[in-house]
């Protein structure tokens, strides 16, 4: 069990590490919090690529090799470029220890909302075979990104779907902790480590209670983490790129990462995606009205890109009632 928990955490970090270090700009990579984006960006990578693999007629049983190949490529490329130094900071190692130990001792589980059944189905089938098997395309596509996380680890660890979901849920929940910790530390209570530590644990417990109170499901948890990362990054993106004078045809890897992250939220939790999409649109529109066309253009670019790279899931989101 300990071994499995370790493998899950390691996999999420390694996948996110390759993705983040190659695609994020240097200024963001230097921030300590960026390390805690890794597991969430690893989640993004899994959900995004699983989804397009399913629509490309490939089940997870085969697709996992494609995802692994991509992750290894990104990881090695990142290693070659030596993006690994700031991983071994004291506070990072301490938080990592908390997550690892916490995931072993605390059994946290949320409503799966039949994600487990879908995850089981997607091990050997792709989404394009749903109609053949008399299933509903829209129903199977709904929350496909969330179920693909369970499917991915189920195939990777060679475990039953239900056992896998029980394994990964506490890990994901505890991975929210560093996000809260650094949010408090960097924006509200800088350098008051003790207070930040205690407050972030209290907040995490509050979140847990809220999750239970409102009967939130596992996909809400995934969305919560990914959306947090996305909104933080898009904020940084606007700060970094507003003053640049790129032409219309310009594209950075950071923008690709943002588009992939936004697109993956559509497969993780469609309603959440709609909220974020509308939110960004209105932010862009407000800026346009205030004659800050550049911000509108930058946000539009991310939105258009996110649609172009996975239009089916967006179509599904629009059609789910």
């Amino acid at each position: 069990m300990i071994y499995i928990k370790f493998v899950v955490i390691l996999t999420l970090f390694l996948m996110g590490y390759g993705f983040a270090t190659n695609f994020l700009p240097q200024k963001i990579k230097k921030q300590t919090i960026s390390i805690w984006f890794y597991p969430w960006l690893g989640t993004v990578l899994i959900s995004f690529f699983s989804t397009i693999l399913y629509y490309g007629k490939i089940s997870m049983e085969v697709g996992i090799y494609f995802i692994a190949l991509l992750a290894i490529f990104l990881f090695l490329y990142a290693l070659i470029n030596k993006h690994w130094k700031h991983f071994f900071l004291k506070e990072n190692l301490f938080i990592l220890l908390i997550i690892f130990i916490g995931s072993i001792f605390f059994s946290i589980s949320f409503d799966l909302s039949s994600l487990d059944q879908k995850a089981d189905f997607l091990i050997k089938s792709s989404i394009t075979s749903t109609k053949v098997l008399g299933r509903s395309f829209y129903e199977d596509s709904n929350l496909i990104g969330s179920s693909s996380i369970i499917t991915f680890f189920s195939v990777l660890l060679k475990q039953k779907v239900l056992k896998t979901s029980n394994t990964i849920q506490p890990i994901y929940f505890l991975l929210l902790y560093p996000l809260i910790f650094f949010l408090l530390k960097e924006h509200i209570l800088s350098k008051k480590y003790f207070l930040v530590g205690v407050l972030s644990i209290v907040l995490l417990i509050l979140i847990y209670l809220l999750f239970n109170l409102f009967n939130f499901a596992f996909f809400h948890l995934l969305f919560f983490g990914v959306a947090f990362v996305f909104l933080t990054l898009i904020h940084q993106y606007l700060i970094l790129t507003t003053k640049l004078k790129d032409g219309i045809i310009s594209l950075s890897l950071f923008e690709v990462l943002l588009a992939i992250t936004l697109s993956s939220t559509a497969s993780i939790y469609p309603l959440g995606f709609k909220i974020i999409f509308v939110l960004i649109f209105f932010i862009g529109l407000l800026n346009l009205l205030q004659k800050r066309q550049r911000i509108f253009f930058l946000l539009s670019k991310i939105m258009v890109l996110s649609v172009a790279i996975n239009p089916i899931i967006l179509g599904v989101v629009l059609h789910i009632k």
């Binding site: 109609k131 395309f137 045809i249 996975n310 239009p311 967006l314």
Partner: protein, 742 residues
Amino acid sequence: MFQIVVYPILTVFILFFLGFGLTSLLIPSRLKNYSLWLSPWFAIIFIIFSYVIFGFLGLSVKSYAFFAIPFLMLLNVFVFLKKKQYFSLSIRDLIIFAFVIINIIFNLSPLIRRDKFMTALSLGNNDVITYSVASDYLVNHSLLENFATVATPSGVQHTAAADLMQGLYRWGEGIITAFFLNIFNLQAYQYIYIIQTILFALSVPLLYLILNLIYRHTFYGMILILLLMGFNANLLYILYHDFFGQILFWGLQLFILFFILAYFESDKDMKSKYNKYDLIIGVSLSALYFSYYEGTTLIIIPLVIYFIIKFLLRKNVFSYWQTLLKISLTAFLTSSYSFFTSIIQNYSWSFGGDHNQPIGWQLFRQKIPYANPYEAMSFYSIHSFEPLPYIAAILLSILVIIFILKGFLKSKMKLFLACFIVIYIALLFYTGIVDRNFFTYNRALTYSLFLFLVFFVIGFVEFLNNKKYIKIFIFFIMISLIMFSALKLNKRFIGERVSVDKSLVSIKEIYNEKIKEPIYMESYLDNDFPYWKQIWQFYFLYFNNPNFKPTLAIQSKRDISDNSLVLISKPTPWFRPAQVLLKNIVWENEYYKLGRLCNSDKCLMKRKEDLSAVNMGTSEYEDSLLISGWSAKEQTSTSRWGGGKESILRLFVKKESYTKLVIEALTLKAPQEISVYVDDKYIGKQNIKTDWQEYSFDLKNSLSYGVHNIKFIYSNTYRPVDLGINPDIRELSANFKKIMIE
């Protein structure tokens, strides 16, 4: 007739018009001179690429066009007013333009000369129906709808469109056709062949642009390259067979190749920042994945080889690596579904299929159905003539190869082009010599021919640079040979083509009748009904009126109940339709009648016709009596073959007492013994001879009033092809002129 010319001209105009603004904005400044002939392809790629996105968001082509056309027109206005840009036509462009129009008219000649109305044609292949159905479907339905909706038994159009869209992920052809169907308010059968001829003609100038890029402009070179591609019999053969995917692939392949050549021509353009080239090449590759991913490997593998060589040579490694990443990331992220599907499909086609299974294609010619270099250039057509004598073929091929080699040596970017040529030669070698499959060799040849044509032209121009009169002389000989091959094939096309003729189109008249019940097509009554007619009857009868489609599973024609509506062709001198008895005619026109079937034993017993005998080819009720094990009708013959080891029919006894069964029959070859069963009781057996003779079987007891099933069981079957009679591969037992009880 007038429409056959107007619609192609309008299509060409719209493509140039819609592509103008987009091209002006996107094309890198040093390629501005090439804008004109690239603009229709910019429009095509934009339409395919953007519709895939909108289609998956749930928009039909009709709704998409509502946004796309104004958007492209807005770009035109912007470019025209703000940037003050417009196309300028040179003499050279006018010549090319004239060539494009002539090429379109040449390929539409069967329509203009014979059919005289807009319709689908084919030299024999049936693929055109698949593209037609998908195109019609996309006008009013979205890609997402096709993926998401569960097909109902009556959703025949949905199911048929899904074959192409969900089975093969081949969307581009349907999208571009549907786009124009929506503008012109046409049905796909009217337009599907026309759009292919237009796409083919518009791809020819792209090869001329490539010639310009890797060599230079010469008048002779321009004329020769246009003719070599535009009237190449090998390529026309593909066009006449409606291989739409491959035709679109040629255009996209040349477009992509042009931009890759332009991009890599100078290292200056290869900056680490994302630029116009990355966008154009990446998106075009995506459009290719959406249209014909089978061909993408022919671009990607040479490119990867080129990058590896550059890497090994350590020349500008970083720039090339960055460029590769930018292009592949753009293409991969925007066509990821098709990319992954292509991996699975290409893998299963390459390693999963049985290479030795029959491929269903007649040999192009009995001896050497593989085009040699001379024939590949289309100076001599494998589709019209027997092979040249060996010596002549070898000498002429060597001459062509020398020209090609010379052309290669004189072209720019040799290393880059060599990567493509090596892969192409390897592919031709594998399909022609290792696999020895004439059809895949021909496909490989038509995939890869273009660069060889360009090198040949460069070689020709270089060799005869200072020999003006010889050059003119050889030039005219070559033109004559190319045109002769093209005309021969075109003539064959006019003669042998199958078309969606007026009779098939006339089925649409049934829509005006107030009929709301299933209609059975002729193929339900006759298993060997011609396939072309069958698929198009299906298209006209069921796609627009799903209510007409019978929902019951029909195993044999006996399952069709009395009073069912059946659509039957009226006989013509060259076609004998199913001969069944109808109670009454509900509707009819010049070509068809729609009647209520009399099919049950009870109904047939009440008929006044004498159903105790059947005279093949003359009895009006022949197919009402023959149940199973009968081969297709011989259109001009008064006999019918038993197919397989057993044949069954039914005969009716109404008044007299019958005591014997008489047949008039022959066999292809002795021995042939027929055993006869009446109502499953053995009656007797006799040896059949190879000439017409009557044979009589005693029925032992006289037959009672009612219906009686007669079964013939044969000792042997023979195939005419095995006996050297003709190429017929049917398993035939005995040929009958009459079967009667008396």
